[in-house]
């Protein structure tokens, strides 16, 4: 196949535009670096010239007299520094300045809408309770701001003698006959094995907590209601070893240290 003079790189009639649009046309050298556009070519050329100036400044010869040498050494160091600060480092510094430092709001961006969530809280070695609410804010420590929170939690019984043991369970039994959901909750709670078996108690807490969370409190005189500092709490269940309390909170900040687990709550 005869070589077209317009496509021959070495000829006078070389047509660059035509050459660009011909397929399978390669320049005569093997190890040529092809660039996608003129901008990348110019950037490569700039880099090469920077490297050349770096080398040139580094190999500057010192003057002959000592005093002049000291003077120019000081000057030379300065000049060297400016020259050796190549385009690469200058660009790096520019990038660092322009980069937006993320604050807590930007890190929360993945959470666009408020999600309904079950958050399990802990007290030293036990499961404490479940919070059901909407996550308004969070951070890297798992500190969470919850909105519209229904919380059910357990307290060791010896802490709250004033809550009353026998009376409240009687009241619960009376109401159970009228309300089917209450009966279901009571049945579940009644099936807990004795408190002697401590390891079982931890597991049962979880079931009774969840069922207590789903149970809707109706009427004010069915459970023992405690009001402290504008927070009303209902003591749902008391036992020899623990009591279950349920309450509603508008907005809470929960420290991440106390969270065991968080799971999405299915919207009923």
């Amino acid at each position: 196949m005869e070589r077209d003079p317009t496509l021959d790189f070495a000829s006078d009639q070389f047509d660059a535009l035509k050459a660009l649009y011909t397929k399978d046309l390669k320049p005569p050298c093997d190890d040529i670096q092809p660039y996608d556009n003129l901008a990348s070519y110019w950037a490569a050329v700039q880099r090469q010239t920077n490297r050349k100036t770096d080398r040139a400044s580094a190999s500057n010869q010192p003057p002959k007299t000592a005093a002049a040498a000291a003077k120019s050494a000081r000057k030379g160091i300065k000049i060297n520094d400016i020259a050796t600060k190549s385009a690469r480092t200058v660009n790096k510094e520019k990038k660092l300045k322009n980069k937006a430092k993320p604050n807590v709001l930007e890190r929360m961006k993945p959470l666009n809408e408020r999600k309904s969530v079950h958050i399990w809280t802990r007290s030293y070695d036990k499961l404490r309770g479940i919070c059901r609410g909407f996550v308004a804010a969070f951070d890297k420590h798992m500190n969470v701001v919850l909105v519209d929170v229904d919380e059910v939690y357990t307290l060791p019984h010896y802490f709250m003698r004033s809550a009353g043991g026998k009376n409240s369970s009687k009241v619960l039994a009376e109401t159970a006959s009228h309300d089917s959901t209450a009966a279901a909750v009571l049945h579940l709670l009644a099936n807990d094995p004795s408190s002697e078996n401590y390891s079982n108690l931890k597991g049962i807490h979880a079931c009774s907590l969840k069922s207590a969370l789903q149970y809707k409190v109706t009427g004010t005189d069915q459970f023992r209601r405690i009001k402290n500092f504008d927070i009303t709490e209902d003591v749902i269940k008391t036992d020899q070893s623990f009591i279950i309390v349920r309450r509603y909170l508008h907005q809470v900040y929960l420290r991440g240290e106390n969270i065991v687990m968080a799971s999405l709550a299915n919207v009923d």
């Binding site: 030293y124 890297k140 907005q251 809470v252 420290r255």
Partner: protein, 115 residues
């Protein structure tokens, strides 16, 4: 209103951590009367005077409710940050606004230090 809020000196480390975590929300709650629940199941109702970078809180005019039902009153109390479980936020407080405001305060603090 500004006089009632104590000025807290935050180290640079504390400032950075406040900007990157929800500490800014707690710092925005300075001057607000709320309830703080501790890990030992005690509730403290009072006005939050100051919050530092480790989430330690000083409260004034505090009512402490212990689990036995005892109530104690303290004119001023310091709560270790790690012992806090809940900090209740009153319903009238807008969370995103307080976060934005305290982030602005932190930026101003940084700018003042530079000068």
């Amino acid at each position: 209103m500004d006089k009632s809020k104590q000025q807290v000196w935050l180290s640079i480390r504390e400032q950075k951590s406040s900007e990157n975590t929800l500490l800014c929300l707690l710092q925005g709650l300075q001057g607000v009367t709320t309830i703080i629940e501790l890990v030992n199941e005690q509730k403290i109702h009072g006005k939050i005077d100051s919050v530092d970078g480790y989430s330690n809180v000083t409260m004034s005019d505090a009512d402490i409710l212990t689990l036995n039902g005892k109530r104690l009153h303290c004119p001023m109390i310091f709560i270790q940050g790690r012992k806090i479980r809940y900090a209740h936020i009153p319903p009238h407080i807008d969370i995103s606004k307080t976060i934005n405001r305290s982030l602005g305060n932190l930026r101003r603090m940084r700018a003042n230090i530079r000068r």
